[in-house]
């Protein structure tokens, strides 16, 4: 049985299956009407507020999805998709409120999706005539050109809200601090632990790791999606249990559990 798996990856596979089963179960349960109560996530609530504030002030909104050189074909694809979900939500709000939106994706392959998302947001808001092709700008898919472009765009447009979720690398603080410099409410998030401290320090609100991934579900208010977040929470409990149990077993001098995990 074990030889089916690549070396040292069997347990990880079963753990993945466990994650999927638990999440799916909780998702179904919520769909059937047992919707869990979700606590407020300040940074996510702030997205709507920030767009609202920008509208009141007659200012624009700038959205991006981070930067990574491999784009959506690489290991950060998940975070980029999470960023796309948030972008879709913001675009919809902007279309409804008549607020100018600028999206600056660093991934050329996503340009068609981004264009369509923004356009259909305006379409659904019945304001297709207000949609402008140039609300999607491309500043290149190279790190520093993109970062320089974001700095410049912020300075020129002086947006009221500056929102971005995705992978960020060395440019994270440049992006965050530039937003603060022009007085935009800056809400940025990433899953990369090395960059999160910069966002916590320099942004008005920071989305930390899992909050980025949960954003689409949270903002959609769709019961099934919120159910999936509940599944995620139960998995945290399972993880905690494994850690505590593992520590006890290891302390007693047994390697059973760690051998199992290394299987």
């Amino acid at each position: 049985m074990l030889e089916l798996f690549s070396k040292g990856r069997a347990f990880a596979f079963f753990f993945l299956m466990l994650v999927l089963v638990v999440v799916y179960f909780m998702l179904r349960r919520a769909e059937k009407g047992k919707v869990p109560e979700i606590r407020r996530v300040a940074a996510l609530d702030a997205i709507d507020e920030a767009v609202g504030r920008a509208t009141e002030l007659g200012k624009a909104v700038l959205v991006h999805m981070g930067y990574t050189d491999a784009g959506v074909r690489g290991e950060h694809a998940g975070a980029i998709l999470a960023g796309m979900s948030i972008m879709a939500h913001v675009a919809e709000m902007c279309a409804r409120l008549g607020t100018k939106i600028t999206v600056a994706p660093a991934y050329p392959e996503l340009l068609p999706y981004v264009h369509e998302t923004v356009k259909s947001a305006y379409q659904r808001g019945g304001k297709l005539e207000e949609y402008k092709e140039d609300s999607v700008v491309f500043l290149g898919n190279q790190q520093w050109p993109w970062a320089t472009g974001i700095m410049g765009t912020l300075e020129r447009e002086k947006p009221g809200a500056h929102i971005g979720v995705g992978p960020y690398h060395g440019e994270s603080l440049i992006v965050a601090e530039s937003g603060a410099r022009v007085g935009a409410i800056t809400i940025l998030g990433t899953h990369r632990k090395s960059q999160i401290p910069f966002f916590v320090a320099a942004c008005d609100y920071a989305l930390i790791g899992e909050e980025c991934y949960a954003a689409g579900a949270y903002l959609s208010k769709d019961p099934a999606q919120i159910g999936s977040i509940a599944g995620q929470d139960w998995l945290k409990i399972i993880t905690i249990a494994l850690m505590v149990l593992g520590t006890i077993v290891t302390s007693l001098g047994s390697g059973v559990l760690s051998d199992l995990l290394k299987m």
Partner: protein
């Protein structure tokens, strides 16, 4: 930064170009201005041009060369790549979604598969450290602290289970949050020194190689 003997301003146009561009970017720190805008537009233009050069290189190296060496099926990704441009033809727009859907699937797959082993299993393993034994007692205290802060940190992030209503839940969540604050402060400060060294390099370049001040 080089120990150049001559104490005069450089006459090398390359150094001048590099120095002026550096100053242009730094000027943003003081005020947004047209010189910065010029530098920004130059960089964005060159960046896009460079991306195209790299892309062309990949098309040659992966696409054309593979086809030439007998892997004729590399026609398929080439056609898929061209399908992206269907987006400019309103009636065929849907075609451009297929290659995209494929890359998104591949990327998400790569993201998910790597995360289970590296971020879940090995992190759980990393927490499973003995709490007593024959080593320095401080080691065990630290092991315990890591365990406590990890557990409480995870509790802090729970979204749907009302931890506040469970006995001790509120306290755990509070400890977790404080632990996170320590980590954030430390991680931020940790990178400061690293970031400053790049500034030292550039300032050194301006003062020594360009102005010849040492």
């Amino acid at each position: 930064m080089q120990q150049e003997e001559s104490r005069v301003v450089s006459l090398d146009p390359a150094i001048w170009a590099a120095a002026l561009m550096t100053i242009g970017i730094y000027s943003l720190g003081f005020k947004y201005n047209r010189f910065y805008k010029f530098c920004e537009f130059t960089l964005v233009g060159l960046g896009a041009g460079y991306a195209a050069v790299l892309a062309w290189d990949n098309i040659q190296r992966i696409g054309i060369r593979n086809i030439q060496t007998g892997k004729a099926y590399y026609i398929i990704p080439m056609v898929l790549g061209l399908m992206l441009y269907a987006r400019y033809q309103p009636k065929l727009q849907w075609l451009s979604r297929y290659p995209l859907a494929m890359i998104v699937g591949i990327g998400t797959g790569i993201a998910v598969r790597g995360t289970v082993q590296a971020d879940l299993v090995s992190q759980i393993l990393g927490t499973m450290l003995p709490l007593f034994g024959s080593k320095d007692p401080l080691t065990y205290l630290n092991n315990l602290l890591v365990l406590i802060l990890t557990v409480t940190g995870l509790v802090f992030f729970i979204f749907t289970i009302p931890t506040q209503r469970v006995k001790g839940g509120a306290l755990m969540s509070r400890i977790g949050r404080l632990g996170l604050m320590i980590g954030m402060g430390a991680l931020f400060a940790e990178t400061v020194a690293g970031r400053y060294s790049f500034l030292v390099e550039r300032v050194g370049f301006l003062l020594i190689q360009w102005l010849g001040l040492r």
